[in-house]
Structure formats: C-alpha cells, structure tokens
C-alpha cells in the first residue's frame, strides 16, 4: 500500500473518497511555470519558433481526426457505386441517375477549377514566386484567428513574413514555419497591422483587424482626411512586409466623434478563410534572397 493511500481504500469499494487532493505547492509551481511560458511568448515570441514544429508533431492527430469522415465518405461512395451498378443493369432510368450524380461531381470539380483559376489569375509577374498551399486548421479563437497551412518542404521555399493571398486579395502573412506546417496570421487578427492606400483618394493608412467576421478599422486618421465610403483599400507595400497592390478591404463607415481627435473609420475585409481551402503564398524576394 502506498504511503499516501488511506486504509479506507481497502474497505470501501469507492476508493476515491480516501484520495488526498493535490498539494497547493505543486499547483503553484505549475502556475509559475505556465506564467513563465506566457511571459516568454509575449516578450521573446518563443512560440513563433516552437509552434510550427509542435504542429508538425501534431500532424498525425489532424489526419486521424479527418480519417473517420474520409472513411465514411469512401463507404458511402462504395455503397452508392454498387447501388448505381445494380440500377444500370435493371433500368435506363437508373443510368440517368448515375449520370446526374456524375454530372454533379463534375460541377463540383469545375467549381474547384474555377476557384483555382481565379486564384491563378490574381497572380502578377513571375509565377515561380507563388506557391499553392492548402488549409489544414483554423484556430477556434475568432478574435485572434491563426490559420495552419500544409507545407511541402521539398518544393516550397517560402519563409516567415511571406504574404498569403486568396482569390480576392491579401489574406495574411506567415508567422511561423515548421517542416510540414506553417502558421498564417490573418489580416483580420487584432494583432495584424497592414499599410494600405485607398483606391480613389490615394491616402495612406494603417489597417488593423478586430477578429474574423468583424469590421476592421483604420488607425489614427486625422479629421481632415477625405476617405470615402465604399472606397477599396489596397496594400501599399510600405514597410516591406506585405506586397503592394493587393485588395484588402472596403470602407464601410466613417464616423466623426466630437470627443476624439481622429476619425473612426470601419472597414469590411474582402476575403475570409472560413469557406476556402486553397491559398497562394507569395515569396518575398527581399527576405528570401
């Protein structure tokens, strides 16, 4: 019998009631350790180095999570195809059904192709500077959305801070890269700051996100600035992190609050990673070469 166990544990079938609770000193030590981890992450960005490699380790878990759906779809496909075969032998009407199902599949493929084509059309200049990546996971915190994309280490040579594009424009930048995964900080993230220029008034500003499915805002805009509602905002390329000329957002509201020295300009983002699977990473020539 262990020293910490009570005699009651051998008398009662519910041994649990004899168990002592954990020591507060051990809890305090763990909390201090967690605080140290958090402080290291805040001050030295330790997780940017560790996280993508950690995700490499967790990759099998993500694949296992996907496997039941994959197997379920395969089983459904198997039974469907068997059923279709029986139908085709029996009657021509069933043949028609099968063709219809094939047709819907073709529609799905052509839809995907169209999306990929539009993604490719958004490419400017040298196509070798772009890499296609697939979404793997989107963080559950919509205030600080971070997307994980798959990396093919043999072909893809992009690095930290490379811009990520969707078919509608700029989506974010890579903040951490491992062997199999890379993390993308989205423009909707409240930590994200994107230098932008407006389409008609040609005014420069800094765009900050507020979370997914939320309006972003332009920081510190003087009241004399003449932004217009509905104006599109493009990345200006200032700072050298994001490439210039990609659409990012559209001005939704402009408020002039009397108690503030700046305009309150809210913008809606043009792209969302929720319903999309494929994205392009633009290799930043300045940082990679």
């Amino acid at each position: 019998m262990l020293r910490k166990e009570h005699k009651v544990s051998h008398i009662s079938s519910e041994a649990i009631f004899a168990t002592p609770t954990m020591k507060p000193a051990k809890v305090l030590l763990s909390l201090v350790f967690c605080f140290l981890l958090i402080l290291t992450d805040i001050n030295y960005k330790s997780s940017e180095i560790l996280r993508a490699y950690g995700k490499d380790i967790l990759t099998p878990v993500i694949y296992i999570a996907k496997s039941p759906v994959f197997i379920f779809n395969k089983v459904i496909d198997f039974f469907n195809s068997r059923q279709d075969l029986r139908f085709t032998i029996n009657a021509l009407e069933q043949e028609n059904l099968k063709l219809k199902s094939k047709n819907s599949l073709m529609n799905e493929i052509s839809f995907k192709n169209r999306r990929l084509n539009s993604l490719e059309e958004s490419i400017e200049g040298n196509q070798n500077n772009y890499y296609l990546v697939k979404k793997k996971f989107l963080s559950t915190n919509d205030l600080k959305p971070v997307m994980t994309v798959g990396v093919n280490s043999r072909e893809e040579v992009f690095t930290k801070n490379n811009a990520v594009l969707s078919e509608k424009g700029l989506l974010g930048r890579i903040i951490s890269q491992g062997l199999l995964n890379a993390e993308v900080m989205l423009v909707q993230d409240s930590r994200s700051l994107v230098p932008v220029v407006s389409s008609t008034s040609r005014l420069h500003a800094i765009l900050q996100g507020s979370g997914l499915s939320r309006l972003g805002h332009l920081n510190n805009i003087k009241k004399s600035a003449e932004f217009k509602i509905g104006e599109e905002l493009y990345s200006s390329g200032l700072g050298g992190v994001y490439p210039s000329g990609y659409p990012v957002a559209k001005i939704k509201t402009i408020k002039d609050n009397p108690d503030s020295e700046f305009l309150d300009i809210q913008v809606s983002f043009l792209q969302s990673p929720i319903d999309q699977d494929y994205f392009l990473v633009k290799k930043n020539i300045q940082t990679n070469e």
Binding site: I16, S30, I38, L58, T148, R191, R214
Partner: protein, 168 residues
C-alpha cells in the same frame, strides 16, 4: 504491465481521443463554438479518478492545445492546471450532484474559459484589456451551451470506458 501504469496510459488514451476530436477542422462558424472535448474529458477524470490524473497531465494537454489552437503558449496550460486544481479540491461535492447541475457548472466554467482566452495579452488594442465584443460573447454563450450539452454524453461514455477498461 503494471496496473497503475496501464490505467494511466488508458486515461492518456482517452484524453488523446479528445485531442483528435478537437483537432477536426470545420469549414464554418461551428469551428469557433465547438466544445473543447479535452477539457471535458479532463474534468471527468479529475472527478472520477483524481489520484490518477494530476498537474502534469493537465499541463501537457494544455500545452498541446496551445500548439494546436495557436494561442499564447502556456495559456491553456494555465487554465487546465487551475481547473484541475478546482476539480480535485471540490470533487467530493461535484461528483454527487445530479448531471444537470454538473452541466450548469460546466456552462459557467466554459464562459469563464472563453472570456479568459479573449484577454489582450499582447496589447494589440491600446485602450482595451479584453478583446471580447457582442459577437464574441454570443459565440461564448453558444460554446458554453454546447459544452454543457456535451457534458452528459462525455460523462456517460467516459464512465463506460472507465468501468470497462480502467481497473482500480
């Protein structure tokens, strides 16, 4: 194999299954309101066999969730350690309450957890310490509702698993 080690491995396996469920990516808004099964399973084991689950388990799975969910490293670890401590401190009271009362406690706990995750630790907004807004609070509410609804199936499934496999 040593019985204690076998039990520990079985509990880790159960938590690992929770991690697999949590790592499934939904392509819609459900991604932001889905319940954390690792947390629910951890609460169950803390309540059922507190001597077999400890701080190390909570810390390990907290850091794994941090890595998976791209949150601040150590934040989920901190929350899981605190929840583990509270569960172990009050498990006598918690385990004898009816399941609907347990679900209500899970509801409250889920709201607190989700709101802590909205803290602005990186100071990205100058005038705010919490990034939560109306939309986030609605999501928090749905998350808490789903967590409390999920508690009963998680509880009974884990109990079945414990009675079948984990011999104390």
């Amino acid at each position: 194999m040593n019985k204690a080690l076998k039990n520990r491995l079985l509990i880790y396996l159960c938590l690992f299954i929770g991690l697999i469920i949590d790592s499934y990516n939904f392509s819609n808004i459900f991604q932001f309101i889905k319940p954390s099964f690792v947390l629910l399973i951890l609460i169950y084991w803390n309540m059922a066999l507190p001597d077999k689950v400890g701080i190390t388990t909570a810390l390990l799975f907290g850091v794994l969730i941090d890595l998976l969910d791209s949150s601040l490293l150590g934040l989920h670890g901190l929350l899981f350690v605190l929840i583990t401590y509270l569960c172990q401190r009050f498990f006598y009271q918690f385990r004898i309450t009816p399941i609907w009362q347990q679900s209500f406690l899970i509801f409250i706990l889920a709201i607190i957890v989700k709101q802590i995750l909205a803290f602005d630790f990186l100071d990205s907004e100058v005038n705010r310490t919490n990034l939560s807004d109306n939309y986030y609070f609605i999501n928090t509410f749905y998350y808490a509702i789903l967590s409390s609804i999920s508690w009963a199936p998680v509880y009974y499934l884990c109990r079945l698993y414990r009675r079948r496999w984990v011999k104390t």
